[in-house]
Every structure is written in C-alpha cells, then in structure tokens.
C-alpha cells in the first residue's frame, strides 16, 4: 500500500498526486516511470514520475483521468492509499550539455516533460519548452516550467492563450533547420509523429518518450513492444525514450487502439457503479 500525501486538480480531468515512496524518491531519474494499481482489482498502468521530495520522502505524478483506471486513481482521497506502486522503471532520458535544446509536450505530457526539461537546463543547456493545451484552462504547471527552463511558449488549440494552433505548428513558426541541436518530445502519438516529421531534415537529434500499453513494465510480457529503426524493442525496459526519427508511430497508434472497445465497456461499468456520467 502506498499512502497518498496530497492531491491537487490542475485542470479539467488532470490531477496531481503526491505519494509516499522513499526508495523511488532516492533512485529515480527524469524520464523514468512507475506502475500503479489504484485498487487491488485494478489494471496495472504506467505513469511518469514528475517530481520528488527528499524531505517528504515522496514522488509526484500527474494523471489525466481518461479511462477507468486513471479515474479510480484520481478518485482516491488524500490519506488513502494506492494498492500497488512499483518502480522506478525504464531508462533515464538522454541528457547532453552546452546545447540548444527544444522540449515539446502536449496535454498531460506537459507534466511528464517538466523533469526532463529541468534536467536539460540543470545540465547546462539552453532549453526552450513548447507546450500545448486544448485551451487556456487546460494549461498546467506553468510556474514550475517557467522556473525550470530558459524559454517557455504555449500553444492552445483554440487560441485562448499564446500561439493559436498545436505545438508542432508553433515549433515551425519559431524555428527551422539548425536552430536546435537536441530535442525531447512527449505527448499524444499524432503530436510526436508530427514533431518527428517536421524535424526530420533539421539536423536535430529528437528523443520521443513513448506510451504503449504496458502490463508488467519489467520486460516480461512484450506487450509494450514498438518498432524502432526496423527493430523490435520493449519500451518498458529499452525505453520509454527512443530516437523519434526511427519510431514506427503508425504501428504504435494501431497497437494502442487494440483494446478500445473493451476499455469503453470497463469505464461504463465503473461509471454505473459509482453513479457517474460517462460523457
């Protein structure tokens, strides 16, 4: 059991959860993730480690409640507990030093980006963060990002804040080939794919943090497999970060849709049980 120390809503559907995890707090590095089961009937789901506190012996994650398990997680009360939490999993994000770095994220990915962008900055890079949100009220962790990077730009789909459009359009509007030497992208698959396409000839090394469906997260099932440069990789142990220009995003898109119907049904059952409207 893992005790929940704090919970905060950051945006519609997006919650921050701070939990007690003394060992993970000590050992995690930006880019790593954990797997949780909110209740002892739940699925195992992966979540990125966003932050940690040595003083509170805790780690923080930011969850977008999109399906049954993520909803179960954000419905737990402070001082309640997650049934399971294991980690830190995966490899740390690739770091560099003394470079011009662009970090891009969309949606809840903005939270997942924060530790990586910060680490790039702390390692002596000049970091530009380009963050996307559906609308002004969906923007999250603005203060933390501002403090952690050299330049922060927002794009909103409806133009209610910053650039009107998506993150990749924003990228193209402010930069071109040669502008950045290294980059990191995390978020919805179409966005990561577009970022890879846009920068293919930019001479930019772009790392994408992938989010395939996972079960064990320890390299045991192969469910998280992705194709990178024609080779099959297990994202939970070989990744989750890979060379964005080599990832087969179309395959990842298809594989992540595999259980769509089932998930909709599970959510419906859950909503009925707790008397919620699915919409």
């Amino acid at each position: 059991m893992t005790r929940i120390l704090a919970k905060r809503q950051l945006a519609p559907e997006i919650f921050l959860l701070e939990v007690e995890a003394p060992r993970i707090q000590k050992r995690w590095k930006p880019g790593m993730f954990i797997i949780i089961r909110p209740t002892d009937q739940s699925e195992r789901i992966p979540l990125t480690i966003v932050d940690s506190s040595a003083a509170r012996q805790s780690i923080t994650m930011v969850i977008q409640a999109i399906g049954k398990t993520t909803r179960e997680a954000v419905e737990l009360p402070v001082d309640g507990a997650l049934a399971d939490l294991v980690g830190p999993l995966g490899e740390a994000a690739t770091m560099t030093t003394g470079k011009k770095v662009v970090c891009m994220a969309g949606g809840v990915g903005v939270a997942e980006l924060l530790p990586v962008a910060r680490a790039f900055h702390d390692a002596g890079n000049h970091v530009t963060a380009l963050c996307g949100a559906r609308s002004d009220n969906y923007r999250i962790l603005e203060e933390e990002l501002k403090a952690g990077v050299d330049r922060l730009e927002w794009a909103t789909d409806d133009g209610t804040h910053g650039f009107h459009g998506n993150v990749v359009q924003l990228l193209k509007s402010i930069a071109g080939p040669g502008e950045f030497e290294e980059g990191h992208v995390i978020g919805p698959i179409p966005m990561m794919k577009a970022a890879a396409e846009a920068t293919r000839d930019w001479g930019l090394k772009l790392h994408a943090s992938l989010n395939p469906v996972m079960i064990d997260g320890t390299g045991m099932c192969g469910g998280c497999r992705v194709t990178v440069g024609g080779e099959v990789k297990f994202a939970c142990v070989d990744g989750p970060e890979f060379d964005a220009h080599l990832v087969d995003f179309d395959e990842l898109t298809r594989r992540n849709r595999a259980y769509r119907e089932w998930e909709a049904k599970a959510l419906e059952r859950h909503a009925c049980r707790i008397g919620l409207d699915v919409k």
Partner: protein, 479 residues
C-alpha cells in the same frame, strides 16, 4: 529412525489408478481445476502398489528427497495427516508439486515397480496428502507466526527457487525477506501456470505456511530498480539469493509479429492468470478470436492453447517438430488433446498477415522435415521449400521460449553471466561474495522441481557461509 514393518502385503500388479478428471467438454468452457484428485479408495489401491523397497530409488530421484516410501506407508495406514507430516520434513509445497511436478521424469521414473508394471502414482498420492491436510494447515497458519531472530537473508523473486530457500532458511531461524517485482507471489506459478492446473488457493495457502514461519514478503519491489543488490547488503542483509527466473520472452522474428492479436505466451498468460482476464468483470482485457494459433511445444504452449479453448476459440498448436518432441508435461499434452486442441506438427510460421486496422488475420506457415540429429542428439527441423500454406487466425500466441530476466544483471554488472544466465559454482554461489543464485535465471528455463532443488542447495550454502560454527559442531557430532 526405526520403521515399523508394513503390516500389509504390497501388490504392484494392481492397476495404476488413473487420476479422475473433469469431463473434457465441461472443462473446455470453465476455469475449474481439470484433475480432481484420487478418491480415498484409489489411494488405498495405489499406496498398496508400493513395494516399500529396502533401497527406495524414488527418494533419491526426487530432487527434494521427499521420503516417499515413508509417506506412502502412512497412507496405507489411512494416516493422511501423518503422510503430510512426512512430506513436510522436506517440502511445504505438496499441493503444488503434486500438481505440476514432472514426476514422470523424477520419482516415478525411478520407481522399481516401473521395471515390470506401471510406476506407483507418487505425484497423485502426494497431492492427496496435501489436499487432505488443507483444513489443518489453514488452522495452523491462522496462529501467531514465528519470529526468527537470526541473520538477515534476502531472496529475490518469489518463484519456486526462492520459496523453498525461504522454507529451509526460516526453519534455521534466519530472518528471511522475499522481494518480488510483481504484485502477486509465486513467479511462473502465479502468472504462467493456469488456475485450471494449479488453483490459486493452493498456491496461496502453501505460501501462507512460509509467512507462518516468519518469512516476510515484499511485493512491488524490483531488485536492480527499487534497490540494488549492494543496497540490500547495506541494509543489513548478509546473503542474497537470486531466483529471478527466465521471464524474457523470445520473439519469432517474422514479419507481422506486432499486429494486434499477436501475443507472447507470457503476455497472453499474464493477462489471463495474473490479471484475471477470464473473469467477466476484469479490467485487463485479452483478445481471443474465433481461431487461436499457438506456436511452440512446451508447457507455455499447452497452457496458452488450453486457455484459448476455454475462451471458446478453435485452437491449433503449431509445432515445428513431431509429437514425441513436445516438451510439455505428458499429462498436459493428453489433456489438451482430450479438450479438442488440434496439433499441426512439423510446421512453423513464416509470416503473419493482418487487415488494414492492424489486426492479425492469417498465419503463413511452412512445412518442416526432421533432418540429421544435431550435437544434442535432437533431429532439427528443416523447412520444405515451396510448402507454404496459410491458416486463418485472429489470435496468435508465440510460445517459443524465454531467456533470463535481465533487470538485476543489468544493474549488477559485476555479476558473471553467460548468455544472460547467471553463472554459479557447484554450491550455487555467484561471482559476487555473499550472492547466490538458482532456478531458471541460472538454467534458462527448466521446471518447478529443479528450481526448488537449486533453491534448497543455495539455502544450504548460505547457511554454511553465515553460520560456519554450526557445521563444525554438526561434523563433530557425527564423528
């Protein structure tokens, strides 16, 4: 120990009793246990078939050296509790071993009766003793657990290798902690072997015996990630046993293997066993279409195929060699056949074809011939050119073997390995001081009983390393 002469007349000529099983049609649609266990009458007959040999070869052949002869005589006397006590001297897992041990390769293979007739059904007798004792075991484990006060030993992984080591060490007063990566205990016995072969309650209850001895279990803890081996020593553990198993699945390496509906046996079985996808209300899904093709011929292949059948799928096992070469337990092969699973021998997949949404639709196969025997003496399959054919399937399960779990090794580079397997000496010691290993992580995939054999050997080695005086004292006594 002085043994009473048996008061009965052994009669090995009596027919070996067949293990009663659930009707094949019923079981092909349910998750209930297939084998039902002997009736008391059958136990009477079967136990009487034992010759009570002066030199019981069966005992030597059992890797745990269970005193088979002595537990059988208890059963002849209808003292099933006594039989269970005899087994417990060596093993706390008769319910597990009586069900999944490959006894045809061990105790039963060595049984003298087999020279003329069929061997005594030792496995099924062991199972009966376990099932009979379950009620009492439950009462026992409800009592206050023991509090060992000796040195601290860490066991990594909760598969059979670690579990038997925990039993042996806890009985010697060591403070034992088992660290398990997953959220449930048992290793392959929980995520790989299906409920219909090994009911979860049996496994849980036998693990509860260890808790009762004071063994601590920590789930959700990956050694190499959550903490390193070095951290464990720093935290006061004086020896570490690595029983992390061989859980890394091999991929087929053919086009289309990332199509939706294509699983490794590990993923397919984990979804169903560990995450209980067979339950209608389960959150973790598994896709089982009208036809399932399972590639491989080992225990994983049989288990995946039999689950496929239980999901109502027409199931085909595709194996590149012949029936004689199947590596699964004989009983499981026979049960699979009874359940209507179709076997295509001497055939292997070469490509998988899907629809535009990425769901698998067809398996392209090629026929095989058995060629010359290789170094291991096994005739290796050779593809027959131009013999390609296609089978429709919406689910494909690759059960073609596993390699050792690499996580701990990756974080512990000083640990000597060979092709991923941890290298040990004859006592189970690794290249790192105080670190021992055994089971599939050393063997690269074997059986429950051999993993237990390793765990037991390592526990003895750990005891010798941490408590050298005891050994000297023991030697003095025997001299």
């Amino acid at each position: 120990m002085e043994e009473k002469k048996p008061k009965f007349k052994p009669n090995p000529k009596l027919p070996r009793q067949a293990l009663p099983v659930l009707n094949a049609e019923v079981r092909a649609t349910s998750a209930s246990e297939v084998a039902l266990g002997f009736t008391p009458e059958q136990v009477g007959i079967e136990a009487q078939r034992c010759l009570q040999c002066a030199k019981p070869t069966c005992v030597d052949a059992c890797p745990l050296h269970i005193d088979i002869k002595r537990f059988i005589i208890r059963m002849v006397e209808n003292d099933f509790q006594g039989a269970h006590d005899v087994i417990s001297e060596q093993s706390p897992f008769p319910g597990v071993c009586g069900r999944v041990c490959q006894h045809e390769l061990f105790c039963e293979d060595a049984c003298i009766v087999a020279k003329k007739w069929e061997p005594v059904a030792i496995g099924s007798l062991e199972r009966f003793a376990a099932d009979h004792a379950r009620m009492r075991m439950r009462e026992l484990t409800a009592e206050e657990p023991a509090h060992p006060a000796g040195k601290k030993v860490a066991l990594v992984g909760s598969g059979p290798a670690s579990l038997i080591a925990a039993y042996d060490l806890a009985r010697k007063n060591y403070r034992v902690t088992v660290f398990e990566a997953l959220h449930r205990l048992g290793g392959v016995m929980i995520y790989g072997i299906p409920n219909f072969r090994l009911p979860r309650e049996i496994l849980k209850e036998e693990i509860a015996r260890l808790r009762h001895l004071g063994v601590e279990f920590v789930t959700d803890f990956i050694v190499g990630k959550t903490a390193t081996v070095e951290d464990l020593f720093e935290e006061g553990f004086e020896a570490v046993f690595i029983g992390t198993g061989a859980g890394l699945p091999y991929m087929m390496g053919i086009p289309g293997e990332n199509l939706i509906g294509v699983y490794t046996a590990n993923e397919f079985l984990t979804r169903i066993n560990l995450m209980e996808a067979f339950e209608p209300e389960a959150d973790t899904p598994v896709l089982v279409g009208e036809r399932t093709i399972v590639v491989g011929g080992g225990n994983s292949a049989m288990d995946a195929a039999r689950w496929g059948k239980r999901f109502g799928s027409e199931t085909v096992v595709l194996y590149r060699r012949g029936r004689e070469e199947l590596k699964a337990r004989l009983e499981e092969i026979e049960h699979a056949e009874e359940e209507g699973i179709v076997f295509h021998f001497l055939a292997a997949p070469v490509a998988l074809h899907g629809d535009e949404r990425g769901f698998v639709q067809e398996v392209e196969c090629i026929r095989m011939e058995l060629g010359e025997p290789d170094e291991s003496g096994r005739r290796s399959p050779v593809p027959v050119p131009g013999s390609e054919f296609r089978i429709k399937a919406q689910t494909v399960v690759a059960a073609i073997g596993q390699a050792p779990n690499p996580t701990l090794q990756k974080a512990t580079p000083q640990l000597r390995t060979k092709r991923g397997k941890i290298v040990i000496d004859e006592w189970g010691a690794t290249s790192m001081a105080g670190v021992f290993a055994g089971g599939d992580v050393v063997r690269g995939g074997s059986t429950v009983i051999l993993a237990m054999k390793d765990g037991r050997a390592a526990a003895a080695a750990i005891d010798r390393a941490l408590n050298p005086q005891a050994e000297v004292a023991a030697e003095e006594v025997t001299q």
